[in-house]
């Protein structure tokens, strides 16, 4: 009886994760979005009596 082939020939792709540029850009995007919201709400508060 033939043994089931266990050896897999698919090669695991290892992504190059050394560049964090995209990560930095996306966290700054969210960071500035939060700041804009915060400042907007704060000025709304200051503008009203």
């Amino acid at each position: 009886m033939a043994k089931a082939e266990l050896k897999s020939n698919t090669k695991t792709e290892i992504e190059d994760s050394s560049s964090l540029k995209g990560t930095l850009a996306s966290v700054f995007f969210i960071g500035f979005f939060i700041i804009v919201l915060w400042v907007g709400v704060y000025f709304l508060y200051l503008d009203r009596f």
């Binding site: 964090l20 540029k21 990560t23 930095l24 966290v27 700054f28 960071g31 939060i34 700041i35 915060w38 704060y42 508060y45 009203r48 009596f49």
Partner: protein, 158 residues
Amino acid sequence: MHVHKYEKIWLIFGITTLIVFLSVVGVSAFYAGNQPPSCLTVIDPEKVDSTAPFNEPGLKKVEGKDWDYELVFVAQAFAYTPGDVEVPLGAKVKVIATSKDVIHGFEVAGTNINMMVEPGYISEHITTFDKTGEYLILCNEYCGAGHHMMMSKIKVVE
């Protein structure tokens, strides 16, 4: 420990932002003197009608204080006393409110005046009415069957 340059940038940015936001709150509280509307001033809720200033609700001119007027409101299910009031434009007013029965809300729609009115406590808010118009006061704490009809009005007039 190795920390990536970008991580350092982000951490500095995040911490700086946090410090700025918290400083604004701190300056507001300790320099500008902002405090919660109900700041431990107490009253006997059963004797509201005979306790000053709630024995005469409405707008009153005061002398020798940081504000020009005191606007006294009594809240009870399901109305405010006074039912509507006129305030001169530009007046610095201390709004003082309390409740005779359950917790009510006191929200002047479209303004920063928004406080809980609790039986046994006096809620206060100091503000300058610098825009003319008619402002609706609403109860925003569910107080019973007539909650949705509980309202009053402030007219800011020249």
